[in-house]
Symmetry: C2
Subunit: 218 residues, 2 copies
DNA sequence: AACGCTACCAAGCAAGCGCTTGGTTATCAA
DNA sequence: TTGATAACCAAGCGCTTGCTTGGTAGCGTT
């Protein structure tokens, strides 16, 4: 929970917007500068992977998105899969930093759980963490070695979730609760449409919270 | 979609086993005979789609699985996507019939909900409904027209779920509950391993039930 | 002016893809 | 015996894919 990473070192205040958080992570070398050619490629790839899926996105698509030719991509990345891997790494890093920030702001255990839920929902649906859904939907497109790399980064994120869950209620098994929650939340990408339903992300987070923690501990 | 040999294992509960159900549906023209060449192709395709995903499965893979050459597939199906579509249609048909059977056996609302959860878990993890996970994981691989076809069949399955949910507790919104539940259950495909954890599907169903319906209506 | 470096282009290769074509074999009914 | 039909083979076509190669324009440094 105590951020011993570049975020804290860079002095990111609790209330900093996404722009500042990104800046801090870029400065700490944990994220690629989104204004660099490489960063632009990563962002374009993330968007396309979300939109069409990894297999149906070609390197020509990605290249066209940033206005270069397909071959030029391989000046920046060793392979198409390396792009996916790096996207996942950076998405994970950013999502974790963002959730740490959100959790720190809350005082009550239940408030922290709600913050986590909302945080992940925003990552899935908003533009808060572009490419977040890929972590689930394209997981099997990664080679086992790449999976290990991402998993190592992911562990901190999941650890935070589990701590918050364990604090927030009398769940027999926080790890199980997290898994069910992750499935429920990530699947919402397939049906939640903020305009069509009259349901904001914040309200949805509340509904999820009340379903998963009815007895309302703490 | 159930192979004739997969039945014996899963027919532990009371009532008609899967074999009889498949037979009845085949006789009714709702399912392709799994022993026909076309049926064998559908089964092989379903297995491969689950295992490697639709995009990474080639028609040559499917053909090799049943011992024919790739070109011969197109004697039975118009396109690769038509295979996916048909797999999804038959999986949906079978899963619905199976769940109706399971629900009818139960007397209490809570028992019916539990039966639905277990039923879907068995569809996801067991060999009860091979290819069930594709309905979620490969949904976007279908063309819009094919999606409509499958959706029409799916509607009955979802309707049944919603009725059971509405009966089983004081959920404000059965449709929302179903969606969260569907995400949670289908995601379990990515982490649940019956051998590694000491957790049976039946126990998992119980855990899910108690998390989602804590106040224990009915 | 010469260098080194980053970022990119132009062209295309080898492999793999879904799918087509024309023909062969086995089965079975009339 | 003939003819129809289902099931499949053998060969390969046209296209797309990820990726490679060799070269160049621009820029800051020395």
């Amino acid at each position: 929970m105590s951020g011993s990473n570049a975020v804290a070192k860079s002095g990111a205040k609790s209330g900093a917007g996404s722009a500042e958080l990104v800046q801090a992570l870029v400065a700490g070398g944990e994220l690629t500068d989104p204004d660099s050619p490489r960063g632009r490629l990563l962002n374009a790839a993330a968007r396309l992977f979300v939109e069409k899926g990894f297999a149906r996105t070609t390197v020509r698509d990605i290249a066209a998105e940033v206005g270069i030719l397909s071959g030029s991509i391989f000046h920046h990345f060793r392979s198409k899969e390396a792009i996916l891997c790096q996207v996942m790494r950076e998405v994970t890093t950013f999502a974790r930093a963002r959730m740490e920030q959100a959790v720190t702001r809350e005082r009550s255990p239940r408030g922290r759980l709600r913050a986590c839920i909302l945080c992940e929902l925003e990552a899935i649906h908003g533009r808060a963490v572009p490419g977040f859904t890929i972590l689930v939907s394209e997981w099997r497109s990664l080679s086992p070695e790449s999976q290990k790399q991402v998993l190592r980064l992911r562990e901190g994120y999941e650890q935070l979730w589990r701590e918050v869950l364990a604090d927030a209620g009398r769940m027999d098994d926080p790890a199980l609760a997290r898994r069910l929650l992750q499935g429920a939340l990530s699947h919402s990408y397939n049906w939640y449409r903020p305009k069509r339903q009259g349901l904001s992300l914040d309200e949805l987070a509340g509904q999820v919270l009340s379903l998963f923690a009815r007895q309302g501990a703490a």
